[in-house]
């Protein structure tokens, strides 16, 4: 993949927002599910699906 191509895993808008939000945390800190849900504005079910896709990519 070149730098001009999008990764279908991470460049879905919602997952990009999730990753950007978590990356803004100080090193080593963690964020609760409910706060992340509040910041991204997703239903719990949708957020879980997005998080699992990111987790499975590890």
């Amino acid at each position: 993949m070149t730098t001009n191509e999008l990764d279908p895993l991470i460049h879905v808008p919602t997952r990009l927002k999730i990753v950007a939000t978590l990356a803004a945390l100080p090193d080593g800190d963690t964020l609760s599910f409910t706060r992340l849900q509040d910041m991204i504005g997703l239903t719990p079910g949708n957020l879980i699906i997005h998080l699992r896709k990111l987790e499975d990519a590890d």
């Binding site: 950007a20 100080p26 800190d29």
Partner: protein, 221 residues
Amino acid sequence: MSHTPDTTTAGNGGNFDPQQAAALLDQATVQARRRFSPGPPLLWVYRAAFVLVAFGGYWLSVRGHQDPYSAPSDGLVAVIFALVAINIGWSTWALKRAGAGVSGPAQRKRRAWIGVMLVAWVAAYAFTVPLYHASASHPVWALYPASAPLMIVGLAGAATSAARRDWPAAGTTLAIAIIAAVAGFGGPAGAWLIMGIGLSAVCLGAAAFKVWQQHRSVVRP
């Protein structure tokens, strides 16, 4: 709370192109930084106005030759207490909002830092009580509360911020300590004016830095 539609099956994000991805990444990062920030720029602007009114008001009450010294009016003292209460309330709210749902080493260090700063504030101002009981002379009595507490608090803040590698906070608190040290040379009246103008400038600088820090791009051109 608005909910965005389910995009789990969006594949490559529909019409999402790299430029839009970069813009969204920056936008989401700015929003997250803003919501995790315990010191929003507007709070620093308020602090700039607050210290200018508080220290400037004191300077207006003590400037010129006063014998005997007349204390600031009750009205000014009431205004200062109200401004202090607003600052404490706003700062507490901003801290709670930023730290909601966040846990980890940075949060623990921040809580420890706040504890150290509270002790430094109390210790620095508690020393005015024995000064009062010892019938300290007017220059001592005027100079100490104007500059010494913030020199102590500033140095304590700079040392503890440097220890946790929070360089912006270390720079801000060191600037406060330097201004307090310089203000000591301003005399019993001038110290209040130097503190008011100097601290206000530091707070405005901190507000400008916060704006830059929150809005700097994470995308390389």
